[in-house]
Symmetry: C2
Subunit: 323 residues, 2 copies
């Protein structure tokens, strides 16, 4: 199942969401409004709104509050992307020139701030304070998680527990925000909200493990991302972390010092071979699957509906994808 | 009167604020916590917290909510500075190396996001939702105001009304946030809150006009900012806007096309002479003074206290400063 099929139970809601999203970021300042229109044209896959809408549908039905929740997460996501492109000096975004490429860094940063404030005001003006709490906690976890990963990469001393904590913070936090906000928009039942939050958290863990795994087993060329292993960032991810605990200690030390001294193509081949030989690939695949299963267990007790089916498929999708 | 004297009525509160501020941005992630400590060492002039505390003191007295309000604005201000340094590629901040210079852009942007989320959570966890509304509105105005100014600068078609709207959005919005939050922390009376907000707005307008004026009449070397007129940004500010309406139209057109074709030192001299000859300096001075007077009128009816005296002095300070 692909994302298009997964979103089919809420396709109509997704179109209404686009309306709310577009209206929510408009401005009276001509240039700001012009750039927001450009941003709408850069439309992404809408994974986050889809998760919000499916979760709400599962927990009682999409309503106007759900659209605002989906809009909040998509606005924040967009603001992050605009700022990321400045940091990465990226020229394109989703096939169109990036904001910073067209209007320079200064305007891109200001646009990010503008979007952020519009997201906050959307929630504050409608008393969606719980949405803001959920989201702010996620932003805190994401930024801490990313910095934690950089800190650990510098010292190359990552164990599995730390790895899981980091990917929980930097990736799963945002997916669980989507599913929790969706649930919170449709029901006041704290137990149901927790189930959906935990579904999102586990799907997020599975997603990131799969993502890190794809660096080892390769991606189809469609992804746009470079295929194969890039050791230059010195990121230790699950396949290698596991191989280091299973493989011979002496060889493990050699591998680590090879990574420390700069990630050349030649050493990438050696690392790959080490990881494969010591079961790192299978272990990570198994781990991703187990989080996917755990995600599905959270929503198992719900009545069988199209939205439940879609969320179950999404949990499969994140571990089966090869891009 | 300088800032030290102005802050003397709330000096004790300012020290307690430092405590709340430092505690509010701490993290369990070692590197994040290390950088927040570094940020605390980069301590600024604390103009914003001083305004929050003085306003609260005037409106009934500083309380724990006031410290949180002051912390919120200072956290947001700090986050903005960290992001600004990335955009400007700045190496130093307040005499110390900038975050991006020490830890690279990626970490600087993440730290900005982290601070932002901590500011939001501080207010959300304490149900200071009104603080967030005031602040988000200011962030929206600031980003729109800055982009509006860039838009207008490109076309060089700024009149006085547009100039005042832009500096209201980009500068006065944040000062009025401080004074409104201070008032809101101490009283529920909407009339008093409006008075303090309008005090801040007018002080902010006076501050920015004076700031733009200092580009023409020069700054003392202490400022660190370059002295004299920099036309390369093509910013049209009040002294020139006024001179263009008063001076001969033909000469005005020459001046504008000179600025359009790149701001060289030689043309700066010609522009300065044009502005002086057509009363631009006096006009801007008069305008700044009139906003300062308007600010003072807002708080005239309050009983005479040390905090009132300090806020009156601050309104004088912003138009008298030469740096």
């Amino acid at each position: 199942m692909d994302l298009k099929q997964i979103s089919s139970p809420i396709q109509h809601h997704l179109e209404l969401f686009e309306d709310v999203f577009a209206k929510s970021i408009r401005s009276k300042v001509v240039l700001v409004d012009f750039i927001t229109n450009y941003i709408i044209k850069q439309k992404g896959k809408r994974v986050r709104p889809i998760l919000v809408l499916l979760s709400a549908e599962l927990c009682g039905g999409v309503n106007t509050k759900t659209y605002r929740g989906a809009t909040l997460v998509e606005i924040l996501h967009t603001a992050t992307l605009v700022h990321d492109d400045v940091v990465d000096d990226a020229d394109t975004r989703r096939g169109l020139a990036s904001i910073n490429a067209v209007w320079k860094n200064k305007i891109a940063v200001l646009m990010g701030d503008y979007l952020l404030s519009k997201g906050l005001l959307l929630s504050l003006d409608n008393d969606d304070v719980e949405f803001l709490k959920i989201t702010s906690t996620a932003v805190k976890r994401m930024s801490e998680g990313e910095i934690h990963q950089i800190q650990k990469s510098r010292k190359l001393d990552m164990d599995e527990a730390t790895y899981l904590r980091i990917i929980g913070d930097k990736t799963a936090s945002l997916l669980s925000t989507c599913t929790e906000i969706g649930a919170a928009s449709a029901t006041a039942d704290p137990h149901i909200r927790t189930l959906l939050r935990d579904y999102g958290e586990n799907v997020g863990l599975a997603f990131q493990i799969r993502d890190d795994l794809l660096d080892y087993v390769g991606r189809k060329s469609i992804t746009g991302k470079p295929t194969g292993l890039d050791l230059s960032e010195k990121k230790l991810t699950l396949p290698l972390i596991h191989a280091l605990t299973k493989g011979p200690k002496k060889e493990g030390k050699e591998i680590l010092s090879m990574i420390k001294n700069g990630g050349k193509k030649a050493s990438a081949k050696r690392v790959l071979e080490f990881v494969e030989r010591n079961g790192g690939i299978e272990y990570a695949e198994e781990k991703a699957r187990s989080f996917s299963v755990k995600a599905k267990e959270q929503i198992a007790s719900f009545p069988d509906t199209a939205s439940k089916e879609a969320l179950l498929s999404f949990a499969d999708f994140v571990v089966e994808r090869d891009k």
